[in-house]
């Protein structure tokens, strides 16, 4: 990262998140702030998921998006994916993480579609190019 000040709205929000292998994890849908020891606010985590996005979009559409996301869950406790800011290795045209996506929770929609729709079609596990 350069010495240029990091602007949350310009450099973080809505950027693509990429894992160590180049897998696309999601977008920076929202930011969680924390407080440093000296009382300054700092970026604590990035939030990924339709709940976070829906809240940020607001209005009827946003509420609807968040409500759908709340119903699509596998654990009984639907929360956006929370990635601690320390896991972000580099910020540029995307946010590169220093972990693999397998270590993060797979979004419920992806999981459900994989198990019930796409995974059942012959050839779903064939390697890409």
């Amino acid at each position: 990262m350069t010495d240029k000040p990091l602007r949350v709205d310009f450099d973080l929000l809505d950027r693509q998140i990429v894992d160590l292998d180049g897998y696309l994890v999601g977008k920076v849908d929202d930011i969680e702030f924390g407080t440093a020891a000296d009382g300054r606010p700092v970026v604590a985590a990035i939030l990924v998921g339709h709940h976070a996005l829906g809240r940020r979009i607001g209005g009827v559409l946003g509420r609807w998006m968040a409500a759908v996301a709340r119903r699509l869950h596998t654990t009984g406790d639907p929360q956006p994916l929370r990635i601690p800011f320390e896991r972000v290795a580099k910020i540029g045209s995307a946010l590169w993480l220093d972990v693999r996506h397998e270590l993060l929770d797979t979004p419920a929609l992806e999981l459900w579609l994989r198990d019930n729709v796409i995974g059942r079609i012959p050839g779903a596990s064939d390697a890409g190019q």
């Binding site: 696309l24 540029g92 995307a94 929609l109 995974g119 779903a124 190019q129």
Partner: protein, 409 residues
């Protein structure tokens, strides 16, 4: 050979923009009603799409980010959602029309009603989208679409009064039989078809699928500057053939068969075979382009894993969007909606999608965080801003002109 084949992405992208089912008929209709008096719009459109496709290809090659990533990142979640709605609807309506177009092309060859071919065409399309790797797909349909070069051959074989066609090109005003409103409507339709947003979605995402890097900037540029002008030439040849054969007779062109007829007259049976093959390849190629673009836009807006580089089960949401889009396209056709009219209606949604797609490309093409030293030159920026103004005018004018002229009738 490999170097020669590297341009097929540009060719396939351009075919989807310039000679898909809507344009094949619309270019025929334009030629029949206006002669070559609207040819200049195609040239303006080719320049515009070259300009912006080059920028999007450059961003994709240097930063690895396709166009809809830029849209979301620069316009924010809310405005990008409006663009997503508009772009997705344009893409979906065009996808539906292309499936119909594939079926119409088979109808020309078999005389079996096109609606019977729609489910079969859609199934084969989906299997290709599911199974076939990106590069062979792009090569087969990009190259087969070149069969439409037969329109150029036909135009020369018709031995038209070149001087008269030249006069029409040089005098861009409506003929005595048409008014300025219909002239404007057809100009807007031709321009919007040339700059249709799924071209840059497909082109930049295709670059990412082909793993372009900084070293592939030349390949990206060659794709742009060969593919799109070629698409423009094909589109002008279709227009020219109709201008020569139909305009003097005052015949109205509104079917695919009529678009093909001048080729049959000039080149004979063999020409007809080639032209039907070309129709099939071009509409099928455009269907692949729009089917994938539908998935690309939604997945890139939400940040989902997309593309044909990974196993389908690793991109389950992306493949679900593609599958649902194909099914929606088929459902729309089975209401017996006219495939050719569908593409004209997609113009309405272009009004939202066009400016909101090209503005973020222009902004990011100037961003050193993305491009380093490869940012736009001042000359490119002057052209880019000029085209953005044209795009805005077209976007604002599209809907009123459509209503005033009753879709140009």
């Amino acid at each position: 050979m490999k170097r020669f084949l590297a341009v097929t992405l540009g060719i396939l992208t351009a075919i989807g923009g310039f000679v898909d089912i809507g344009d094949l008929v619309a270019n025929g209709e334009t030629g029949a009603r206006f002669g070559m008096r609207l040819a200049w719009v195609v040239v303006v459109g080719v320049l515009g799409i070259c300009l912006y496709a080059e920028m999007s290809g450059r961003v994709a090659a240097v930063s690895g980010r396709p166009v809809f990533d830029l849209v979301r990142e620069r316009l924010g979640a809310r405005v990008a959602l409006a663009n997503l709605a508009g772009s997705y609807l344009v893409t979906l309506l065009t996808l539906s029309a292309e499936i119909g177009g594939v079926a119409l092309a088979i109808q020309l060859a078999t005389s079996v009603h096109y609606l019977l071919w729609v489910p079969i065409a859609a199934f084969v399309l989906w299997v290709v989208l599911w199974k076939v790797k990106f590069e062979p797909m792009e090569r087969v349909f990009g190259l087969a679409g070149l069969a439409l070069v037969v329109f150029v051959v036909a135009l020369i074989a018709l031995d038209p009064p070149w001087g008269q066609l030249g006069d029409q090109i040089a005098n861009p005003v409506p003929p005595a039989t048409e008014d300025w409103a219909t002239y404007g409507f057809f100009a807007v339709a031709l321009f919007a078809a040339a700059m249709t947003p799924y071209e840059v979605f497909f082109f930049s995402s295709g670059g990412v699928e082909e793993k372009w890097t900084r070293r592939d900037l030349v390949i990206s540029r060659v794709n742009v500057f060969i593919g799109f002008p070629l698409g423009g030439v094909l589109s002008l040849a279709v227009m020219g053939c109709a201008a020569v054969v139909y305009e003097p007779l005052g015949v109205h062109v509104d079917t695919l068969g009529q678009t093909a007829l001048p080729v049959a007259m000039a080149v004979g049976k063999l020409g007809l075979v080639v032209v039907i093959l070309g129709f099939f390849a071009a509409t099928f190629g455009a269907a692949l382009e729009t089917g994938l673009s539908a998935g690309y836009t939604v997945a890139q807006y939400f940040g989902w894993q997309w593309g044909k580089l990974v196993r389908p089960r690793q991109a389950a949401r992306f493949h679900t969007v593609v599958l649902i889009s194909v099914l929606l396209g088929v459902a729309l056709l089975l209401t017996t909606a006219d495939p050719i009219a569908i593409t004209e209606y997609s113009l309405v949604f272009s009004a939202v999608a066009l400016p909101l797609t090209y503005l973020p490309i222009l902004i990011v093409a100037n961003d050193r965080d993305y491009l380093g030293d490869h940012v736009n030159s001042p000359f490119t920026n002057v052209l880019g801003v000029t085209y953005l103004v044209i795009i805005l005018v077209v976007a604002v004018a599209a809907v009123p002109l459509m209503i005033v002229t009753g879709m140009g009738s």
